[in-house]
């Protein structure tokens, strides 16, 4: 999952970014409105956290431009402006959520997860693909009732495939969503992690759940 953070106050920005990265999200961040607009127009994000009062182009202007472009990326406004009028203004312009500073990082993470679920049309934190159940709230995985222990990267990769159940994701798409410092290229790190995942999800007698579409990428589907 890739998230954009636009915040001009450095200590706050670095803490938000670090928190999201520790949670396993890939994060792009900037303090400038111009850069933020460029990022969100040129990359696919699962969520964008936008501060309103930033230099050059304000968070609200970015949001207006995004919505007029037809970009439906979930946007959470993070702002110190806390009046009802200001919140309504943000939501009317097209924000999906509004978080007033100072906020708890846990609350921010919960709201980010809600937006990701909503974007992927999942009302419940549980994603089921056949006998595979992924709990996005506790970040735990079970297959056929058995708990599967995954590393953070393996989990993120599986969650990324599960959210787009049945959809073929290219290596690049997966890498961009999962790896913080991915800058493009043809690294086989995705193939390696897919291999690890397949092994961990394999249970004797049960069919493979991660499939390869040669020349295109990987997808998750029930057998």
């Amino acid at each position: 999952m890739r998230i954009l953070v636009l915040e001009d106050y450095p200590p706050l920005r670095s803490s938000i970014v670090e928190c999201l990265v520790e949670e396993g999200y890939a994060v792009d961040s900037t303090e400038s409105g111009d850069e933020g607009l460029w990022y969100v127009r040129n990359h696919v994000y699962d969520v964008a956290l936008l501060d309103i009062m930033v230099p050059e182009v304000s968070g609200l202007e970015i949001l207006k431009k995004l919505r007029s472009d037809g970009n439906s990326v979930p946007v959470i406004i993070i702002s110190a402006r806390d009046t009802v009028v200001q919140k309504i203004e943000g939501l009317e312009v097209g924000a999906d959520d509004y978080l007033v500073k100072p906020f708890s990082l846990d609350e921010m993470l919960a709201r980010v997860r809600v937006q990701i679920r909503r974007r992927n049309e999942k009302k419940s934190p549980l994603i089921s693909v056949g006998d595979l159940v992924i709990d996005t709230a506790t970040k735990t995985v079970q297959r056929a009732g058995r708990a599967i222990e995954l590393t953070r990267k393996e989990y993120l990769l599986l969650e990324c495939l599960a959210f787009r159940n049945g959809e073929v994701l290219s290596r690049e798409d997966i890498a961009r969503q999962v790896y913080q410092d991915y800058e493009g290229g043809t690294s086989n790190v995705v193939d390696v992690y897919i291999g690890y995942l397949r092994k961990k999800l394999h249970i004797d007698g049960l069919p493979n759940i991660i499939h390869t579409k040669r020349g295109h990428g990987y997808f998750l589907s029930e057998p």
Binding site: D8, Y9, P10, P11, L12, S14, S15, I16, E18, C19, E22, G33, M53, V54, P55, E56, S58, A80, R81, D82, T83, V100, K101, P102, F103, S104, L105, D106
Partner: protein, 480 residues
């Protein structure tokens, strides 16, 4: 303390004045009537006396009172007319029967002169008398040969009861008093009604005013069309005052909202840094790094609150101002020197055009705040490699200082440049607390200029230029 009511005052005073006028006018009129009646009475008295006077005659060489026989019978019946005639020669007197044993008071003047005076009859009644010094009439000279009238001067006194006249006067007085009281009462009622009807609009306006809640400051009080012009003008001023209060209240509200906003961001930074530090166990160095970050944020908060405190103190600065005579040109040169190296880094050049004498009486420290802020803003926001122009000039009682430069972001200039003086306004929305850029510098300048009795304005000087003009009174006192 109970405030007097205009309505009650008007009513009391107009009633008092009308009563006074009625009393004076009534008294004058009554006295005039009284005088007229007495005058009429005296006239009749005189006529009667004159008629009877000729009946004091000389007969056979003696004074004969012909009038006595005919009058005695009549005055006995009416008891009204009384006559007494004294013979000054003999000292004896002849009087009408109605007088009985009593004598009339005797007053007289020169021969033939009528002297009128008040008398009291024996029965206690008041009366009016006329006293005449006369000589007996000699009709038959032969019969009265040797009779010299001048040797027998007579004082003739005719007295008449004035009881009827007094009754008439008492009735007149009563009528006057009754009419006066009626006029006063009717006038008071009419005045009360006029005042009441005239003050209905004022009362309704006053009721509207009194029923207002403390929170309704911004709403103008409705001014009824029929409100008298004197009060309508005051109501208009009051509404204008309300609007001004509301404007300043909104400004204050915005200011506090902005303060809250400015405080929240560094506070969010501190909270996020600490929360993130505690999310999992970390190395000591890592904790130290995060604590330093939190400390930096708290220092930003301290800087912000310090600036706010200074801002707050400015409002009371008038009392603590130290006014000295200084030369603005010298002060400017000192400030420019301070910023010269920073300007050089951005390729900026100062170009000064100073008037010969720019002395003024003002507070040096406060003026420095303004000049520092303006020069610093120019050095920070002027387009690189351009010229910052400074000019001082002197006009009637005022010294003007202009600073203008090419602005680095001309498209970003607001239409209404007054917003530059709003607290926490940032044209580029940059949050750079480390450089003290919290957006209250120009707002600060505005406050200082108010304290110094001057003005500061912003204007667009050319397509890309921005000009700030400071006007200060030479003698340190505000010029309207």
């Amino acid at each position: 303390m109970k405030r007097p009511s205009i309505r009650d005052r008007l009513l009391a005073w107009t009633t008092f004045v009308i009563t006074l006028i009625m009393a004076v006018a009534g008294t004058l009129l009554y006295n005039s009537v009284k005088r007229s009646l007495y005058s009429q009475h005296d006239l009749l008295l005189n006529e009667a006396a004159t008629l009877v006077l000729i009946e004091v005659k000389a007969k056979n060489g003696k004074v004969h009172h012909e009038w006595k026989a005919s009058l005695d019978s009549a005055s006995r019946e009416t008891g009204k007319s009384m006559i007494q005639v004294w013979d000054l020669e003999s000292g004896e007197s002849v009087k009408s029967a109605a007088l009985g044993e009593s004598d009339l008071e005797r007053q007289y003047g020169k021969l033939g002169e009528r002297v009128f005076y008040n008398v009291t009859f024996p029965n206690g009644e008041a009366g009016r008398a006329v006293g005449i010094l006369t000589y007996p009439v000699v009709e038959n000279m032969e019969e009265n040969e040797g009779f010299v009238p001048g040797d027998h001067p007579q004082v003739f006194v005719w007295a008449d009861s004035t009881q009827e006249l007094r009754d008439v006067l008492i009735k007149t007085k009563r009528a006057f008093v009754a009419a006066g009281v009626a006029v006063v009462l009717l006038s008071a009622i009419a005045i009360w009604l006029i005042i009441y009807l005239s003050s209905l609009a004022v009362q309704s306006f006053s009721a509207d005013l009194l029923s207002r809640e403390g929170t309704e400051i911004g709403e103008p009080v409705p001014v009824p069309d029929r409100l008298p012009s004197e009060v309508a003008g005051m109501a208009g001023k009051f509404n204008a005052l309300l609007a001004r209060i509301d404007h300043y209240r909104e400004k204050d509200q915005d200011f506090f909202l902005n303060v809250a906003h400015e405080v929240r961001t560094p506070l969010a930074g501190v909270k996020a840094v600490i929360e993130q530090a505690l999310r999992r166990p970390r190395e000591v160095e890592d904790y130290q790094k995060r604590l330093r970050e939190a400390l930096d944020s708290t220092e930003n908060l301290v800087r912000l609150t310090d600036r706010l405190m200074e801002f707050g103190k400015l409002r009371n600065a008038r009392e603590s101002m130290v006014r000295i005579t200084l030369d603005l040109n010298t002060l400017l040169e000192g400030v420019l020197e301070k910023f010269r190296s920073r300007a050089r880094e951005r390729g900026l050049r100062f170009k000064g055009e100073f008037c010969g004498k720019a002395e003024l009486g003002t507070d040096e420290e406060l003026l420095k705040i303004v000049v520092n802020n303006l020069v610093e803003n120019s050095v920070t926001y002027a387009a690189p490699n351009t010229v910052i122009e400074l000019k001082t000039s002197r006009t009637e009682g005022m010294i003007e200082f202009k600073i203008q430069n090419e602005y680095s972001n001309p498209e970003g200039l607001p239409d209404d440049l007054d917003v530059f003086f709003d607290a926490f306004y940032r044209n580029d929305k940059a949050r750079d607390l480390g450089a003290n850029n919290i957006g209250i510098g120009l707002s600060f300048c505005k406050e200082v200029m108010l304290v110094l009795g001057g003005q500061i304005t912003a204007s667009k000087s050319s397509a890309h230029g921005l000009c700030f003009t400071v006007s200060l009174p030479v003698n340190g006192h505000a010029v309207d």
